[in-house]
Amino acid sequence: MPKVKIPRKSTLIDMTAMCDVAFLLLTFFMLTTQFKSDESVIVDTPSSISEIKLPDTDIMNITITKEGKVFFSMDNKNFSREKLLAKMSEKYPVLQFTAEEEKAFVLTGSIGVPLNQLKDYLGRDDYERKIYNQPGVPIDSSNNELGVWIMQGRLSNPNVRITIKGDQGCPWPIVHKVINTLQDKNVNKFNLITDLEADPNKLKGM
């Protein structure tokens, strides 16, 4: 019987093509990526059928946590955060910020401390700031610091849009207070941040 000779083939594969693909994908992801912002609080937003996208810049965001704490943040387009802090210390001459504190304010995300704790909060290092137990910006009618932040924020960036990012479980009266504060400052148009939900009217058409 003649033996059929199967030629032994090398198991080595040319990796060049795979390498090309990997780096193509890598380039794509590197260019499209936007890092998840480092939020100091976790908020689970309710869902809606609204499909309006949120722009990246000119945004002033008010976050409300489940416990009803209020946080304030603003993007730093055209150095509006620096301007905001300068305006705050102009209004409250007691708060004289050092250069380090100013830098910390620009880099940090949301602010959730009353003004009298702000200097202490900004004076800490990154890690301490992360674990700092922020009590939230006061919104009582007697001491409405959120209103001051909104006012100064709009002065430092007149094109700013205001968004409210509330947790599903947060009580309505707190949101109502925030909305009232906005209305007091003549802000009658604002956006609520929500998750996307399927529109039943569109589903029907499918």
Binding site: D14, F29, S48, I52, G166, P171, I193
Partner: protein, 176 residues
Amino acid sequence: MAELEQKQVGTKGKKKGRKKMSTRVDLTPMVDLGFLLVTFFMLTTTFSKPQTMEINMPVKPRAGDPPVTAPVVAASKTVHIIIDEENRLFWYRGLATQPLDPLAETNFSALGIRKVLLEKNSSIDGMIVLIKPTNGASYKNVVDILDEMNITNVKRYAIVDVDPADFDLLKEYKKI
């Protein structure tokens, strides 16, 4: 494993010529690295921007403003939705003191409030919905109702405070 084959070109006799090294490099580690980074960027990226819902509130009257007469609305055209603290939902039409459709409980589902709104919206011309969240209502429920306005295409709606008369109605309803 590694593909570093050095082809022996020169024969024993010819020692003068330099050894020709293969130009092929093993790309496996590079591919590994590539995919590792791809995975990293895939996991850290946020593709979808958050959605937003636009809200317009009426301008608050200020001291010194000329007095504004409140628009007169036919009571029969108003539908009131009350959200209470136990995630329960109630609605009635007309005035709280003499409702045209009596207070009834409904729910947040498609067969609940949405059906009511669609029915009323088609039968009443120029319907106005008044959303009344009580102090214990959660933010989610309010957003759900606002969303329902978008779904059912109700054009005129407002968020207002709960009247004492509404509380009386609720109390009476819950007693039964």
